[in-house]
């Protein structure tokens, strides 16, 4: 019994220990002056919400005068249990898809070939920056959609 428990523990440790996670370091005092967007977050997938943390959304203007947004997301799928589960289910790395939709000053969606689902592959602990640029100067608002791709 004790031997089985030790073997099981060793197997679990092996499963979690084999996964690569992302480690980061950055300058403590950042020089960039960010314009953070006050956003409304609506989630229909609790699993996705818990695994993918939305850190912040910033906005800016491109050299051509178009609205640009950047969503900072972080994969929270690290740690013993998360890595054990993703190791067992083969969900490492984490496959997601995201899409930006744009709206004009009247709230109408602006059609653009860039508003398509794009794949995103995240390593455990990785931070990514989802950027999008408005298709024209009439765009005022945006909607970011994220879903699990597998």
């Amino acid at each position: 019994m004790k031997q089985s428990f030790l073997l099981l523990t060793a197997a679990l440790l092996l499963l979690t220990g084999c996964q690569d996670t992302v480690n980061t370091v950055r300058n403590a005092e950042t020089a960039a002056r960010r314009q953070e967007v006050d956003y409304r977050y609506f989630s229909t997938d609790d699993f996705c919400r818990d695994r993918l943390q939305l850190i912040r959304i910033d906005r800016g203007t491109t050299p051509s005068g178009l609205l640009q947004v950047q969503a900072t997301v972080h994969s929270a799928r690290y740690g013993f249990w998360s890595e054990l589960w993703s190791g067992l289910t083969g969900e490492n790395p984490y496959h997601l898809a995201y899409k930006f939709d744009w709206f004009d000053e009247q709230g109408m969606r602006v059609e653009t070939p860039a508003s398509v689902w794009l794949n995103l592959i995240l390593m455990p602990g990785e931070t990514r920056f989802l950027q999008a640029v408005a298709p024209n100067e009439r765009c005022r608002d945006f909607l970011l959609s994220v879903k699990e791709a597998e």
Binding site: T62, L66, P113, V133
Partner: protein, 192 residues
Amino acid sequence: MLPGVITLSGCGTPARYLESGSPESLLTVSGVDPADWQRVTAEAAQSLVASGALKRNDGQRPVLMISRIRNYTLQHLETRLLTDQLRSVVLRSGQATVTSAVGYGSNLDPAVRRIRQKELDDLFDPGTVPRSGTVIAPNLSLSGSITQQTVTRGRTEESYFLFHLTLTDLATGLAVWEHNVEIAKQGTRPVL
């Protein structure tokens, strides 16, 4: 025998619509799939309109021609899947206009030249026929290339695609914008 045939014939899936960019869309290792074209279009389109390269200092909208996208892969690729979308993006951005009078492949409309040909003189009211010398020359040209490298190890195959796009100022010949999109795919064939 008969039950087996019935079972096998029942395994097919009838034709159905897919949402553009659906994860159910077919994915191949060695080919450029619909999702790949969409990704290249989305990334290149956003980079192009964001760069400011389409804006002129005099406030006038430049005229863009769609030139050649060279295919350096081992397969036939419909590069119109990229250029047609980029034309649309540029026009909708309001930053530039796109000419159909000169260009490569389907981006060239032969009607611009045809309507000015002498043999049509008797057919149309001469006052309504566009005269020669009225077509506006482009200021910018969009061209590019698609390159593929494939490596195989055992049953595993990996393909790397590089989509390279360049916007050239036709007055100076200088590149004013460039963008690369990289796509890497890998798959392992079954043993049997």
